[in-house]
Amino acid sequence: MTVFGHVLRRALRSLWENLYLNAMATTVIAAALLLMGVYLTVQYNLNTFVDSWDKDVHVSAYFHTDVPEQRRLDLRDRLLDDPAVARVRYVSEDEARDWLVERVDGVSDVLDQLGPGVLPASLEITATDPGDTTALARWADDLEGPDFQAIDYGQEWIERFQAFLSVLKLLGALLGTLILVAALFLVTNTVYLIVYNRREELEVQKLVGATGAYITAPFLLEGLLQGSLGALFSTVGLWAVHVLLIARLQDALALGMAGELAMLPGRWLVLLCVTGIVLGVGASIVAVTRFLLRTP
């Protein structure tokens, strides 16, 4: 307990005497975590969008205009017999027209001029399991025939987008690793400057019998504080970026197709904070160990 008291006093003293360098290390950690946080926020929201689209994925089959109404309803009922089908919605020409008119100003006159058959009736088929791409593909094949003029198989686009997201994740992992390594390098060198400033004291401590742990401990406390403060600042920064920048971007680009752009969930923020602390403490260990190995 007495040793801990000495260590704590030395850590606080070093923090005060090396305020500028400690602030620099904290800033580097905060900046690295903020960069990673912004990237993770973007990726988290993209994933959320894809998940919500995935749940809503369906096959849209557009009828030829000359297919009789009864035939259309028979086809709908036949599809409903398939256990892999959760729902089949028949959208008549009038409903399709109403849907479009409701969303696009002035389109009504254009549709009048184009005449009937511009917006064909359709069946919207939703799978029991939205991820069952095999079933969706099977229906897309089955529906090819004289009754339908076009089949819109949305899953294909989503799969392409998911592939893009996978590449984005890989790039993110690489970028994250690069940011972490760069931050570790910068923080380690900053802490090493603090160690260097105190080298005479540390050398004397070694000569009077201080153990490696005794010499390292105050730097670990400093690293812990740097990491914690860095994590706190980056979380505040992330919130500010979210409120000031992303929310405005969302308004400007009208991206609200899947609700509000979300802040990172709590567990991801905790992970960022832990990363900050590991970064601060890890850099201190590397810097002090480097010094200890160089002094007799």
Partner: protein, 217 residues
Amino acid sequence: MIRLYHVTKRYGDVHALQDINLHVAKGEFCYVTGPSGAGKSTMLKLLYGAVRPTSGKLLVGGVDVARLKRRELPGLRRNMGIVFQDFKLIDTRTVAENVSLSLEVIGTPRADIRRRVQAVLSIVGLRGRGDDRPQTLSGGEQQRVAVARAIVNDPSIVLADEPTGNLDGAMAIEVMEILQAINLRGTTVLVATHDHGLMQRFPYRTLRFRAGRLESA
């Protein structure tokens, strides 16, 4: 207290020490002397584990220093006091804080530290100077602070590497008198020096080195 058996230390092709055999008894006062490059400092460094012998066996208080692991060195050094020619005081700490370093590393409670630091500052004639910064003291006073730091934890051995090298005659005598007083309390003292005047004024056993060899013991 100190025993060397055929100890050799080489730095590359240079023989800093060659085939040294010697014995220093507990409570003895010895000079380690010789011209520059004779191996005096290397000899002391071997004793506090700053360098390892290339060959031979080196016992300090029964411990084979050459075989000590890095993490075991603090245990050895806690039983030693080391004094350097350049004092090695920390300018940003007060005199009392400099002296208390040796006690802090072994977890001595603060109240005990205060008491022992005051006592040892009295021994070296610096009572009342505990709150001063080292740079406000004279060279002799700074070396006395270094001696105080070396003896505050009652070590069984004090190693002093040219402790009077940066001091004028009167100050050098003051420091030597303190080392002598420490020795009279039973502490083994080894002083590396080439100041023949001091050796004549304070006559003790002399270990004379030349070109890495022990000429006379």
